[in-house]
Amino acid sequence: MNTKHGRLLRAVAVSVVAALALAACGGSDGDKSSSTGGAADVKAALKKGGTITVWAWEPTLTKVVKDFEAEHKNVTVKLVNAGTGNDQYTALQNAIKAGKGVPDVAQIEYYALPQFSLAKSVTDVSSYGASGLDKTFTPGPWASVQQAGGIYGLPMDSGPMALFYNKTVFDKYGVAVPKTWDEYVDAARKIHKADPKAYIANDAGDAGFTTSLIWQAGGQPFKVDGDKVKIDLSDAGSKRFADTWQKLLDEKLLAPTPSWSDGWYKGLADGNIATLTIGAWMPANLESGVKAGAGKWRVAPMPQWDAGANATSENGGSSLAIPTASKNKALAYAFMDYATAGQGAQTRVDAGAFPATTKQISDPAFVDKKSAYFGGQEINKVLAASAADVVKGWSYLPFQVYANSIFNDTVGKAYVSKTSLADGLADWQKKSASYGDQQGFTVN
């Protein structure tokens, strides 16, 4: 079935129309497998119209929803911001558990998707036409939405990491922009010595950031094979990260400010937080949240663990997925496809999102775009290069949402007490493993 639909889809090319056609005749064997018949079916399905609810916090979707509704007058899309990240997952889990108020489409970050797909809380959309989209998306995000042969969402954006830095701070103290993590530690010392209120970065213990750096260092602490899970937060990559980061913690070279807090925005604006190693979706957030930083910030490649290397990793990034309890999956898929692979992808990139689509990421209009906020720098060149250098072979735990929620209980201790980062990671491993056992996985 899947392959048949996949072949069919490729024939009619990637579009909302085709996807809808297939969704409409999905399941009925021996349909008139011609592209014209499919298109006719789509029109029928679109004519029927309907209402779908979308839970997402990504700001550029507002415009996409408007465009989609303008194009399909019978369709109403209710865009609801049910919280960011974990808050939304909590609401979603509760809605799924209650069997009521479940949205038709939900934004789910890549790290969280396995938890939902494993419980079959979200639908395998390959039969809706997603299996024909493998060339549409960049490899990293595309791999992130797949599990055990199924496709559980469509990539909406991606977060290849880069070093965002406040150039005025580096210029003022005559510090070179670090190319390796060792240089980064040196730069941290120099900046903090020059101004005791200034730090090279903030870090109050952030699971997403830590796992991304371990990922870049070549670590593979989480390995998943069906219901067999291996957790090893003391592998070479994890150790490498822990050793370097321990220096920054020991010498108190990191501002203990939580990301996204008021103090964080303030620090980014006044130069007390000099760098951010973060996903490529950051520019839009800097522009809207740190207006005073205009002209001061620049983007450089991520510092390396080995001098001269060019390894990067992903940080954040979300997919759109269809909860299994949705009553209008075909229409939901039509919207999802439009927003991620169709016209919506361009709309969102124009509004400042970082694409997960091959077409947009290699588009000269995108790559060569000069950003006024970043002093006219062609930042997308750096970010797109990072997307191509993401280290392969990483995977998250099938219960990463829970694991991340206890990160600060365990690794967090290293940030506020004498516990070492390595011990914190070991504790995180232990607690995550015991949760995995409780949930019926075979861990380690």
Partner: protein
């Protein structure tokens, strides 16, 4: 019955018993609105929690009946007992301080020598009117050693005060918030108990030449013993249910306040970030029983002393 007795007596008996019957049903009728609501919002959730606590729902393997497994697990769960110990410590330190301050304030206002007593009374009571969430956010800001009040004090006076949101001090910081919030409430309980003491007792004491302290010890304190017991029980329950303050401070001090800081927070994070609804229900039931036992013990002891 009819065959053995006279005609009149059984008839009378029947009449009384049926009247008795009617009366009792009428009573139930009056009780019904309460009983229905009580059953719906109190008994049903408890029954459902007990039901939940007997199952286990896994990501792999689904839902299954596990009997008392969850209870065994909870009784041996170090994270759970650590959180119980923490609220226990909170209880024995914070509650006496808070009740002592409340008592002091109530006696001061009742003493009649305080200038502007009603202003004083409202000022102390006011924090209770501030929602706990708002109060905690406000205190959270003041505690900030980076951008908050503590930070500003450190900066302007060149001090380096210990971080109130660090792991060492955060429980005391929470205690401070709770004390600030509830001194006024408890003061009002004590004050209203003090107001109902008959003036004749004070007159008699005055004739006997009793000092103010003597009056407090011999008249006022014994008279408000009931109120003290009630306030203590409320505070015990409040301590065991500690949730709002640590849960909100958790967002500014994630590394110091973990997700199982208090039993309630543990139950909350179990169900909302771990989807362990069954285990969470178990924790809630055990905690409920524990609170009941301790509150009941205090009540018994308090009342025995009163007699």
């Amino acid at each position: 019955m009819v065959a053995t007795g006279s005609v009149v007596a059984p008839a009378d008996k029947v009449a009384t018993s049926s009247r008795h019957f009617r009366r009792s049903w009428a009573g139930w009728g009056f009780l019904a609105p309460f009983a229905v609501v009580f059953a719906l919002v109190f008994l049903a959730p408890i029954a459902y929690s007990i039901y939940l606590s007997l199952f286990q729902d896994r990501l792999i393997g689904g839902n299954s009946f596990v009997g008392a497994d969850n209870y065994n697990q909870a009784l041996q769960d170090p994270a759970f007992w650590e959180s119980v110990r923490r609220v226990g410590l909170f209880l024995v330190v914070q509650v006496p301080i808070m009740l002592f301050l409340a008592l002091l304030a109530a006696l001061a206002i009742d003493g009649g020598r305080l200038y502007g007593a009603s202003l004083f009374r409202i000022a102390i009571f006011l924090p209770y009117a501030v929602p706990a969430v708002v109060a905690t956010l406000m205190w959270g800001f003041m505690y900030g050693s980076q951008f908050g009040l503590i930070g500003s004090i450190n900066d302007s006076l060149g001090l380096s005060l210990p971080d109130p949101l660090g792991p060492k001090w955060v429980l005391a910081s929470i205690g401070n918030i709770v004390t600030w919030e509830f001194v006024g409430y408890n003061m009002l309980i004590f004050y209203s108990a003090l107001r109902v003491i008959p003036a004749s007792l004070y007159e008699a004491a005055a004739i006997d030449g009793a000092s103010e302290f003597r009056i407090i010890r011999a008249i006022k304190l014994p008279a408000i013993r009931g109120a003290l017991v009630i306030a203590t029980i409320f505070s015990i329950i409040g301590s065991f249910q500690l949730f709002n303050e640590p849960n909100i401070l958790h967002y500014v001090a994630k590394n110091a306040i973990n997700t199982q800081y208090t039993p309630n927070m543990y139950a909350y994070s179990l169900s909302f970030s771990g989807q362990q609804y069954n285990y969470s229900a178990t924790i809630a039931i055990i905690m409920g029983l524990l609170t009941m036992v301790i509150a009941y013990t205090v009540q018994l002891r308090g009342m025995r002393k009163a007699l």
